[in-house]
């Protein structure tokens, strides 16, 4: 038997879900404050401290720690050997955790109410920037751990195919190194020296450009583990096989190569970039829809196979024949449903010309809650239900409650995000804490403001059931044995794959060239342009 690093995986996952639970409570407070129905609650100071904390906890803490924890489990159980360096995994955990605590102090005391995008020249307390950077440094150590685990495994198993789950995890680790470089440069060369007073002024246009480098692909960093679970856990839990292992590899490679050099779609409305580069990034943005469309097909085809094995007949009979008592199956279907519902909205955001209509309106908040808090997080929750018995050696406290909780999550997310989409189309700006505009528009907004409180309350209740279930599982009955080989097998398990689909050298090369064009040239242009800098501003 090999050491599965279960405690470090569990520690990471618990930090993730603790952050998640705190942030959900803040989320409900935010929708209540925004609605204007609770005048005694209203406070701009509190609201923006809250939404900054909520964004950081959900966007950076939940995701990073979840990905690290899931990665350790994946690396050990797919490669069937201990981590490359077990001690380092704890170092990564402690670095990331101390960064989180360092950032949390200014956030909770209102010294960093600049939202999770921290756009200068608004300035936060330096501890916020340093803490956030440490969180990223912790995640880099995790990346190293994943990459080295695969490299050493391949050295010892020449010619063998890297298991798909680990291939995807490594793709994500490499992609994250590429992705996080943008914000790391922004932190080290702009925000930290500027907040410490070593630099008088800052170029907000350059800062936004560097942040956009991270901002797009970070969402794929979050989404990757959800896709990995859909390809490599879901088919097995549904009682079937993965439709195609190779297609999974193709999707992972495309995500790695395509998702980083396209961040300018966040800058469509920005004055500091020219139309030509925005157009170039738009091309890649539509390209990155391809791996998602391939994933949807492969996952549905795998599920259809499972449904038919269970006796499902006809065009749709396989859907009812699925095992709707299995949390992973329920989450997978609901995740795809929310992905489809949210995907068309993404096409509008991504559109070079239509973006104008929705840019920075509440539509955007609706869109990313649906795909991120919906599709991505529901898979995180299902992965947690799947892993908990394996990591604790105990039964899950209640599978019935788990299934119920997942349904509630989807319902709550729809009730929360559909009104937000409508509000956006009705012109409501995002990132507001109240609606004091003297305009007839405000009356049109009111009913939707009410609906989102209901959505927020459903989600909080759902999150409570989730956390309770995990907590109770630590005291549940011990299992006689746990299977660590619950990874899905493909219909045709590949005996060998082309070298390019077993490693990443070629893809890193292509990405290097593309990044030089897509980000290198615009950044050099900005440096030459040398726009007059901005002084720091409070808020």
């Amino acid at each position: 038997m090999y050491d599965k690093s279960k405690s470090v995986a569990l520690a990471n996952l618990w930090v993730a879900f603790a952050a998640f639970f705190v942030a959900i409570i803040l989320g409900l407070y935010q929708v209540m404050n925004r609605s204007g129905l609770f005048p005694e609650l209203e406070s701009h100071e509190l609201y923006f401290a809250s939404v900054s904390t909520h964004g950081v906890l959900m966007g950076f803490v939940l995701t990073t720690f979840f990905i690290m924890g899931f990665g350790y489990y994946t690396a050990t159980t797919t490669l069937k050997r201990p981590l490359w360096n077990k001690g380092l995994a704890w170092v990564a955990f402690l670095v990331a955790l101390s960064g989180t605590v360092m950032a949390a102090i200014p956030l909770l005391t209102g010294k960093a109410s600049i939202l999770y995008t921290f756009y200068p020249p608004l300035m936060a307390h330096p501890m916020f920037y340093i803490g956030a950077t440490l969180l990223v440094v912790g995640s880099w150590i995790w990346c190293l751990e994943m990459i080295m685990s695969v490299i050493t495994w391949r050295r010892d198993n020449p010619g063998k195919v890297v298991p798909l789950a680990m291939y995807g995890t490594t793709a994500n680790a490499i992609m994250w190194l590429w992705t996080s470089a943008g914000v790391a440069i922004e932190m080290l060369f702009q925000l930290i020296p500027w907040s410490l007073g070593l630099m008088d002024t800052i170029d907000p246009g350059l800062a936004r450009t560097l942040f956009s480098w991270t901002l797009h692909a970070i969402v794929y960093f979050w989404l990757f583990p959800a896709y990995i679970a859909m390809y490599t856990i879901l088919p097995k839990m549904a009682g079937g096989r993965l439709f195609s292992d190779e297609m999974g590899r193709v999707a992972f490679i495309m995500l790695l190569v395509l998702s980083v050099p396209i961040g300018f779609h966040h800058l469509y409305m920005d004055p500091q970039q020219s139309a030509g580069f925005k157009f170039l990034h738009m091309l890649g943005t539509f390209g990155v829809a391809i791996p998602t469309l391939l994933t949807g097909f492969t996952v549905l085809a795998s599920l259809e196979g499972a449904g038919r094995l269970r006796g499902g007949q006809g065009l749709f009979g396989w859907i009812t024949a699925l095992n709707w008592k299995e949390p992973m199956v329920v989450a997978g279907m609901l995740a795809l449903f929310m992905l489809i519902a949210g995907g068309w909205g993404g096409m509008i955001n991504a559109s070079y010309s239509m973006n104008t209509l929705v840019h920075n309106t509440q539509w955007v908040t609706g869109h990313f809650h649906l795909i991120f808090a919906g599709t991505t997080v529901i898979m995180y929750l299902a992965v947690a239900y799947h892993l908990w018995p394996k990591l604790t050696g105990r039964r899950l406290a209640s599978r019935g409650m788990a299934v119920f909780q997942l349904w509630l999550w989807m319902i709550g997310m729809m009730v929360l995000t559909m009104p937000w989409h409508v509000l956006g189309l009705l012109g409501q700006p995002r990132r507001i804490s109240s609606t004091p505009y003297d305009s007839p528009l405000v009356q049109q907004w009111d009913p939707h403001e009410l609906a989102m409180i209901v959505g927020g309350a459903i989600l909080l209740f759902s999150a409570l059931l989730f956390v309770l279930n995990l907590l109770m599982s630590h005291a549940a009955r011990k299992l006689d044995s746990v299977s660590d080989d619950d990874w899905a097998i493909a219909v045709y398990p590949p005996m060998s794959v082309p070298k390019s689909m077993n490693g990443f050298v070629l893809w890193n090369g292509i990405l290097t060239v593309w990044m030089i064009v897509a980000y290198g040239i615009p950044i050099v242009q900005l440096l030459i342009l040398d726009a007059p800098g901005s002084m720091p501003w409070g808020y």
């Binding site: 020249p121 409305m269 970039q273 492969t298 726009a531 901005s534």
Partner: protein, 160 residues
């Protein structure tokens, strides 16, 4: 490498869909000249109020010899200045906007008027308003605790 025939068909469908979307975007950009505001032009946020086109006296709407209108605005915490802009309907309007303090965003609901305002740069938006009446410029990027209060008025009057 094993590819199922059904999968292959789906790949063609995906390729086709992507091509159609990119194609329509390229058509709008190249043939209809529809581009997002991308005016790479710098300005010093510390001194822009002292002289030049963004000095207080020069702000507002001016009609150009060719009949089109240029609107100069400053986005500063927490309003857009001047706080009331009047433009004729169905006329080409060019907005030139900049910020002396932090990042802002501005849009007029139900129109194509939308841009980020980044200190150090001048944003330029070209558009036309077809619906007459009162509308609002709303700030859509967090700019501080008063962000909600950052808005101003636009009046679209009959052309003539």
């Amino acid at each position: 490498m094993h590819i199922d025939p059904l999968e292959k068909k789906w790949m063609y469908v995906v390729g086709f869909m992507t091509a159609v979307m990119i194609g329509s975007m390229a058509y709008a950009a190249i043939m209809l000249n529809m581009h997002p505001p991308s005016n790479v032009e710098t300005i010093d946020p510390k001194t822009l109020h002292l002289s030049g086109e963004f000095a207080e006296d020069n702000l507002g709407a001016t009609t150009n010899p060719d009949g089109s209108v240029t609107v100069r605005m400053v986005a500063a915490r927490y309003s857009f200045y001047p706080q009331m802009i009047e433009v004729p309907a169905d006329t080409d309007v060019k907005f030139r906007i900049t910020s002396p303090d932090v990042l802002h965003g501005v849009h007029v609901p139900f129109t194509n008027m939308s841009t980020m305002v980044v200190p150090g740069y001048v944003s330029e938006v070209n558009t036309r308003f077809s619906r007459e009446g009162e509308a609002q410029f709303l700030c859509n990027e967090y700019c501080g605790l008063g962000h909600d209060y950052m808005w101003s008025k636009l009046k679209v009057v009959p052309k003539g």
